[in-house]
């Protein structure tokens, strides 16, 4: 499977050249990174040209890289990741498009794959990434009147407000959260020999 994707990677590089900023094949998965100026033209070619023929957009998700590797990340903060599937050629590709930190904007691919409508709304809702050209960019998963973008890394897991019924005013009110954040299992990155040996042990 890896060999097939390496060939596809070569074909991709021959076809698009400098329009893609990086490509790599890892664990039998092909990933291509591209700047947002070329997103629409590359996507359209990927859908229409028979050697790629990615008719389906399977998934789109936002990523907030700000705490990646415990803060060792130096690239742009937000990225949009697309997973495409070709039913005709039976292969997949992952596209990644980075966007600016201050005002993350990416062109919408809704005219290429109609299925992206809700996925882009979701990425807008959860990460605040804007999709230029989307006809109906509303919040989708969070509550009516929700403030903030909950999947950003600077948004606490407990949220900012909690909701309760207030018997005095006899209505449902929002108030600042009263629970304290706690972390039962700390997040750690271990770089010791045990994990380097893991793959070597498998081979023996």
């Amino acid at each position: 499977m890896s060999d097939y994707y390496r060939q596809l990677e070569t074909r991709l590089q021959e076809r698009f050249g400098s329009q893609l900023s990086a490509t790599h094949v890892e664990i039998s998965e092909l990933t291509a990174e591209l700047p947002r100026e070329h997103l629409l033209s590359v996507c359209e070619a990927l859908r229409d040209e028979p050697e790629f023929a990615f008719e389906q957009l399977i998934d789109l998700c936002g990523v907030d890289y700000s705490e990646y590797g415990n803060g060792s990340w130096s690239g742009p903060r937000f990225a949009v990741v697309y997973h495409l599937l070709s039913v005709r050629n039976n292969h997949r590709i992952r596209l990644r498009c980075f966007c600016d930190d201050e005002l993350p904007v990416v062109p919408s691919v809704i005219n290429i794959w109609n299925s992206v409508n809700w996925f882009e709304r979701e990425a807008f809702d959860l990460f605040g990434i804007l999709f230029e050209g989307h006809p109906d960019l509303r919040r989708i998963l969070t509550d009516y009147g929700f403030i903030g973008h909950p999947f950003r890394k600077d948004f606490p897991i407990s949220g900012h407000v909690e909701m309760r019924y207030d018997p005095e005013t006899r209505r449902v009110i929002y108030q600042p959260v009263s629970i304290e954040p706690r972390d039962m299992v700390p997040r750690v990155i271990r770089d010791d020999h045990r994990y380097h040996d893991l793959s070597a042990q498998e081979e023996q």
Partner: protein, 418 residues
């Protein structure tokens, strides 16, 4: 002459035919639908964000709660994605057990779907029939994992434990059940779990015949389903439909055949495909899928009977050692302590693993920065794309057809809202 204007109708969020918490804003022209705007998110729990705060094994039970009628299939995508990142080999017996339970889950899901769908359309009996069979299958869940619904049975590296040799039995006389009745209920529970499942697979095709007698040629059923919610193959691909929704439109696409995972390439089964892309074709596709799942389960039982072996990978950096080992071996104890206190580290990288879930392509995308918790997890829920196509499918239909379309899409809010 008075001017006739469109009006808006609110459907849900609490409506028996909405299959959970769907709020639909319907713009109507008389009884015809001009536009449907589904409002979702009423069951949003932030599973993906929660997974970022827990180590890999801890967030596995959340998967059961996504699509809460096909629990083990969700777990399957999750463990496959983690195994892909870890480059972990799964023992062959565990792969067969997973495939068998995936297919049991598919039958469970389709039974609930046919029951609820038929009930929505007006056929009460189906619901009772379907739940009769679900009872047996949930007993299988209980026997293997201890839970009837939220199993948490799969683990990165295999499954939690091997198939049990005994089935749970009905006990105790009461004013509701005499001793004879209890003995009759325990009739097929004398052997192992595999015997129980085999007994079920022998009975099940007869049950599907029963359902088909009730529905397939039923005049009312056909009037409600034929030519409702038609999707052409081109539009189905454009809208990102997968699973029975795509196959109903005539595209032969099944991940079990096209991108086989686990042991599906060793098993013999067929992929049913529809021709018209309407609700009736999708009904026929799902009915045939139940029969094919039954075939797969039979083959798995046959294999599992003759091939004992480990069900968990031996790599104790990832999978916990046995209790016995822990009592005798210092290193095993250390492994267990590390796994219980901080879990395992996953190499830096990203992986997307998808399974042919009863509803379509269910995928998990992991982005790992080398920590013991995923940096980002994305759940690709098939129902999310299907519900997005709702507007297109109901346009120009009557209000009553909305219920049919919700039914034919097999909507479950646990996975859509995540």
């Amino acid at each position: 002459m008075a001017e006739i204007r469109n009006f808006t109708l609110n459907f849900g969020p609490q409506h028996p035919a909405a299959h959970g918490v769907l709020r639909l804003i319907l713009e109507m022209d008389g009884e015809m639908i001009v536009r449907a705007d589904p409002h979702i998110g009423l069951l949003h729990r932030g599973t993906e964000k929660l997974a970022e705060t827990k180590h890999y094994v801890q967030s596995l039970p959340y998967m059961d709660r996504l699509d809460y009628v096909s629990m083990m299939c969700n777990e399957h995508a999750y463990v496959m994605a983690a195994e892909k990142l870890l480059q972990l080999e799964v023992p062959i017996r565990a792969q067969y057990i997973r495939v068998m339970f995936d297919e049991i889950t598919r039958i469970l899901n389709h039974l609930l779907w046919i029951g609820a769908h038929a009930l929505d359309v007006g056929a009460m009996t189906m619901f009772i029939y379907a739940f009769r069979e679900r009872e047996d299958l949930m007993d299988c869940y209980e026997a293997v994992s201890g839970a009837r619904l939220h199993a948490a049975y799969y683990r990165p590296g295999g499954v939690y434990r091997d198939l049990p040799d005994t089935m749970p039995r009905f006990e105790g006389e009461s004013k509701w059940h005499s001793a004879d009745e209890i003995q009759a209920l325990n009739g097929n529970r004398d052997g192992s779990l595999l015997d129980f499942i085999e007994d079920f697979t022998n009975r099940f095709p007869g049950y599907v015949d029963e359902y088909e007698t009730l529905l397939t040629d039923n005049r009312i059923w056909k009037q409600r389903l034929v030519d409702v919610g038609v999707m052409s193959p081109e539009r189905a691909l454009q809208m990102g439909l997968t699973g029975p929704m795509l196959r109903g439109s005539g595209i032969e696409w099944d991940l079990r055949k096209k991108q086989p995972y686990e042991v599906y390439d060793r098993l013999d089964f067929d992929i049913p495909v529809g021709t018209n892309g309407d609700s009736y074709d999708r009904y026929l596709v799902r009915m045939e899928e139940m029969r094919q799942s039954n075939r797969i389960i039979k083959q798995c039982i046959e294999w599992l009977r003759h091939n004992p072996g480990p069900v968990m990978a031996e790599n104790h950096k990832v999978t916990p050692p046995s209790r016995l080992q822990m009592k005798e071996d210092m290193e095993a104890l250390i492994h267990h302590f590390k796994l219980a206190s901080e879990g395992f580290m996953v190499p830096e990288g990203e992986a997307y693993a998808a399974v042919e879930h009863p509803k379509g392509e269910f995928g998990i995308y992991f982005l790992s920065d080398g920590a013991n918790k995923p940096y980002r997890m994305k759940i690709r829920a098939p129902g999310f794309a299907h519900l997005a196509a709702m507007d297109e499918m109901v346009r120009g239909h009557m209000l009553a057809d909305v219920v049919t379309v919700i039914g034919t899409q097999d909507i479950v809010f646990g996975e859509i809202d995540r």
